[in-house]
């Protein structure tokens, strides 16, 4: 039999991988030292929040009143217990949020002893900026992106926590946990710092900043399960109830307090609906649902077959709508 004979002249010595274990672990973990996926995600997020507070001079948490914000606040409380959350919350208010969101925001921040700041692009509001006359992109540009950048600059914040998750949208899938922004608040997706292990590089120059996403590795289901597990308060709009809505070509828009009621065409119906994600009233639709508890929402989630932001008008204007907004400074 012809065996291959090793060549007389050996080449360079093979490299032994000194960084790798060469043997299988002798035993698996005892059950009591297993940590469920939610507790692992929680520990990771707390680590991120503490790291930012330790390395930055003036952090702030972007607070959108939604379910992810509620979770983010809980994680911050856990990170600094028994101390208080050591940074303010900043709500970028477009003026078009639902009334339930404003009342929830004020009560939630008061009960939890949180330092809430609200910032609005006042000149744009005075000009009557709205998505019907300007289009959704320009309206978001003024009331959200510009307001956000101005609000961050006005506060002199060098790090801003946001509740974005990588499973939300495909351009988010590549975003770092520490997302570097230049002096204009812009994101350069082709020039991101590599992020290895849980070692974050928070080095910035004067005027530059980072956005931090402690929920990066959470999915929508994780958020709901955590809300259930931790009994975290959320805006009642997330729960189904009979609402008077305009059926505007499949998008269900509640008409209660709706500022552009006369601009919508479509039949008015009373339907049991809830919101999967919350935004501005002109641009966020409700979905038909029977879910009135978090448990029922989770059950519904396992059956639902549309992605979370599908009811957001802003995202599907074009295939790369979200990426463009992010480059310009949007969250």
């Amino acid at each position: 039999m012809l065996e291959t004979i090793a060549p007389a002249q050996e080449q360079a010595p093979p490299f032994r991988l000194l960084t790798a274990k060469n043997q299988a672990p002798s035993r698996t973990l005892p059950d009591r030292y297993r940590l469920s996926h939610l507790r692992q995600l929680e520990a990771e997020s707390i680590h991120i929040i503490r790291e930012v507070v330790s390395e930055f001079e003036k952090p702030v948490m972007l607070y959108s009143v939604g379910k992810d914000s509620s979770v983010l606040v809980r994680l911050a409380q856990k990170a600094f217990f028994p101390g208080r959350v050591p940074f303010p919350l900043l709500h970028i208010d477009t003026g078009y949020k639902y009334q339930e969101m404003y009342s929830f925001r004020d009560q939630f921040t008061k009960e939890n002893d949180l330092d809430l700041r609200v910032y609005t692009n006042q000149p744009a509001v005075k000009d009557g900026t709205n998505p019907y006359d300007l289009g959704t992109a320009a309206c978001c540009g003024q009331l959200k992106t510009k307001a956000l950048l101005d609000g961050l600059a006005a506060g002199g914040y060098d790090a801003a926590f946001g509740g974005a998750r990588r499973d939300e949208e495909k351009s988010r899938a590549k975003e770092r946990i520490y997302s570097f922004r230049d002096r204009f608040g812009q994101w350069d997706p082709k020039n991101q710092r590599p992020e290895l292990w849980s070692l974050f590089n928070g080095h910035i120059r004067e005027g530059e900043s980072i956005r931090v996403f402690p929920l990066s590795n959470w999915t929508e289901i994780d958020i709901w399960q955590y809300i259930e597990l931790e009994n975290i308060p959320i805006v009642p709009l997330y729960f189904a109830q009979e609402r008077e809505v305009i059926d505007a070509g499949g998008t269900l828009i509640p008409v209660d307090n709706f500022p552009f009621r006369d601009r919508l065409r479509g039949p008015i119906k009373t339907v049991k609906t809830r919101f999967r994600s919350l935004g501005c009233s002109p641009c966020t639709g409700a979905i038909r649902s029977e879910a009135t508890t978090v448990g029922e929402i989770i059950k519904e989630m396992f059956q639902v077959r549309t992605s979370e932001r599908a009811n957001r008008v802003i995202d599907h204007a074009s295939d790369d709508a979200m990426e463009r907004k992010k480059r310009e400074g949007y969250f």
Binding site: Y33, S36, E51, G83, P194, L196, N201, G295
Partner: protein
């Protein structure tokens, strides 16, 4: 209902990375996993199908996975993307890394947090260099489990011998590396063979399907519960009565009443309580984030580490480490970088490249430079000691990153092999090296040579530069003609200051010779920076306070000299500034900016308290 939710909350989490070339079918495999695990949603699917209708082809799974516009246009993936799916048994996080040659850094990033790596091999092409490289990097980053998915089995008629040949080839390679044997699975991602369900076309294969393997392989197997490693991340002092140390347990278990040892001051104390928002705990373990209070009041701050006294961490300033270089600017031997390790940041000096690693051949090679995507073994010295374990024993305490002090970019990922022999123990016997001085002073030796006509204001600028350097933490000394010195003597003195690691700021208005070549040769080109302060003769004469011009004009013999002087400007300056147009602060700012660009000045940025 409650039990249903509770059961879902108790799921395990498996993180894995995938690597493969454009043609290996990686996107198809991920699309297939997401599809079969029902993680694709109707609107994503309809977007996919709409595109497929336009192109008149099968759904293009890459459309789902290529997130950025630039990538979709170029049809390539340029960055690590994270994707999520779940089955009733487990939650999965995929780090999806591009497989192009220039993206070693992406593969390393994806592998750094992975419990498992899937390496894709195209059955038609057999084991190619690319696949070896993927396996190599995954293993280098300490990924505990490798899965080799031999894809496109449908295109080789599901032939067992093709699969076996690939397995043999790859096993040979893996044995050379000295790592655990991978799991081999023959699949067709396109048709779904052995992805979720057992393939009927490959009845000869008796192992698990890919998804079955992902669901059943033990997770957390490289989690170390033996040695407590708790780096202090944040000192919590909400009121006078509470002093807690917050952080994430990187390995081990901590119990109330346990004795612990604090690095670096080596004091011992006991754990008084384990505080969390959800109440106090009796014990906590990796990877929980908790807050500990201790029995004694010790001086402990961020970056210190609490450990089990029976298993102390390694403590050293000299380490040997494998690094993956990730920046376009190559590694500088004798350069200094900020090193971040656990919650500790310190400055590190690259003393030498021990060897480089040829990923293609999986061998050690000689080399004196490390460029983007290259891997090498370095000897590093840090300003403060590190508390560490070898990477193969503990990924969390064995890893670090290097940050460029000028650009702030993350330039390298490092894995500690061991403390360097001949390090701290014999330190006393070693003379202090120039590199150590540079590390300590946070500056490279520098001779800033300010030349120009008499009266061009060299002295005022020199004093201002000296102060500016001093204020930013630099060590500078000004040499001028308060004692009469010749050109050569000034250069000699400057060279001596440089040897001591200091910066020399030299005031020069010797005007006979327009070249400073001799002084430059004495000081050495590496440390030399010459600034010519340019002024017209009229301006210089008007601003001269020394009486030089009056003196020269008063002496008939020296008329020639005055004429000669009229022609004189430095011919070899690194930077020329016009003093008639700029005031002193502007001149200083220009000089500092130029020094920074040349890499003479480090950026001192202290951590906020």
């Amino acid at each position: 209902m409650t039990s249903f939710i509770a059961q879902k909350e108790e799921q395990e989490l498996l993180r894995f990375s995938t690597a493969g070339s454009v043609d290996d079918g990686k996107s198809t495999l991920i699309g297939r996993l997401l599809y079969d695990a029902k993680s694709l949603l109707d609107d994503q699917l309809s977007a996919l199908e709409a595109k497929a209708r336009v192109d008149g082809d099968q759904p293009d799974w890459a459309l789902l996975t290529d997130g950025l516009k630039a990538e979709r246009e170029q049809g390539i993936t340029i960055d690590v993307a994270y994707r999520f799916f779940a089955t009733p048994k487990r939650k999965f996080i995929i780090a999806d890394t591009p497989g192009h040659e220039q993206y070693t850094r992406n593969m390393a990033t994806g592998a750094s947090t992975a419990d498992l790596a899937i390496v894709l091999i195209d059955a038609r092409h057999g084991v190619r260099t690319q696949s070896k490289r993927h396996a190599f990097i995954a293993a280098l980053l300490g990924t505990p489990q490798l899965v080799v998915a031999v894809n496109k089995m449908d295109l080789v008629d599901y032939d067992q011998s093709v699969f076996e040949a690939i397995r043999r080839d790859f096993d040979h390679f893996v044995q050379q590396l000295g790592i655990r044997a991978p799991q081999y699975i023959p699949i067709s991602a396109l048709l779904g063979d052995n992805v979720v369900d057992h393939s009927e076309s490959m009845s000869w294969y008796e192992g698990p399907s890919l998804l079955h393997f992902l669901e059943s392989t033990p997770v957390g197997i490289n989690r170390n519960l033996k040695e407590l490693r708790f780096p202090v991340q944040y000192v919590s002092r909400p009121n006078q009565n509470f002093r807690g140390y917050s952080g994430q347990i990187l390995s081990g278990i901590v119990r109330k009443g346990d004795e612990i040892l604090v690095h670096p001051n080596q004091q011992r104390t006991t754990v008084e309580s384990i505080v969390t928002y959800d109440g106090e705990l009796e014990e906590a373990f990796a990877p929980m984030s908790v807050t500990l209070t201790l029995a004694d009041e010790l001086d402990i701050s961020r970056g210190d580490m609490l450990v089990t006294p029976r298993h102390e961490a390694g403590v050293a300033r000299d380490i040997e480490a494998i690094v993956v270089w990730m920046d376009h600017v190559p590694l500088q031997v004798n350069g200094t970088y900020t090193l971040k390790h656990t919650t500790r940041k310190t400055r590190a000096l690259v003393e030498a490249i021990r060897y480089k690693v040829d990923v293609e051949e999986a061998s050690q090679v000689e080399g004196q430079a490390l460029a983007l995507n290259e891997i090498g073994c370095l000897k590093l010295t840090t300003m403060q000691p590190l508390f560490f374990d070898a990477y193969q024993d503990n990924r969390k305490t064995g890893s670090f990153i290097l940050i460029d002090e000028q650009t702030n970019l993350t330039v390298a990922a490092g894995m500690i092999l061991k403390a360097d022999q001949g390090g701290s123990d014999t330190l006393l016997a070693n003379p202090v090296s120039a590199a150590e001085r540079a590390l300590y002073f946070n500056q490279k030796p520098l001779t800033l040579w300010l030349t120009g006509r008499v009266g061009a204001g060299q002295l005022a600028v020199a004093q201002a530069v000296e102060r500016a350097l001093f204020e930013r933490g630099g060590y500078a000394y000004r040499l001028d003609q308060s004692a009469p010195r010749g050109l050569f003597r000034l250069a000699e003195d400057a060279a001596l200051l440089n040897k001591a690691g200091l910066a020399a700021v030299v005031v020069d208005d010797f005007w006979q010779n327009p070249s400073r070549e001799a002084a430059r040769a004495q000081v050495g080109a590496d440390a030399w920076f010459e600034v010519h302060l340019e002024a017209s003769l009229g301006w210089a004469e008007a601003n001269d306070e020394s009486g030089f011009y009056e003196h020269v004009r008063g002496q008939r013999d020296h008329v020639d000299r005055a004429q000669q002087y009229q022609r004189t400007t430095a011919t070899d300056a690194d930077l020329t500034l016009n003093v008639e147009q700029l005031d002193v602060p502007e001149l200083v700012a220009s000089i500092l900016a130029a020094l920074e660009t040349r890499g003479f000045l480090g950026r001192l940025r202290d951590e906020p308290a």
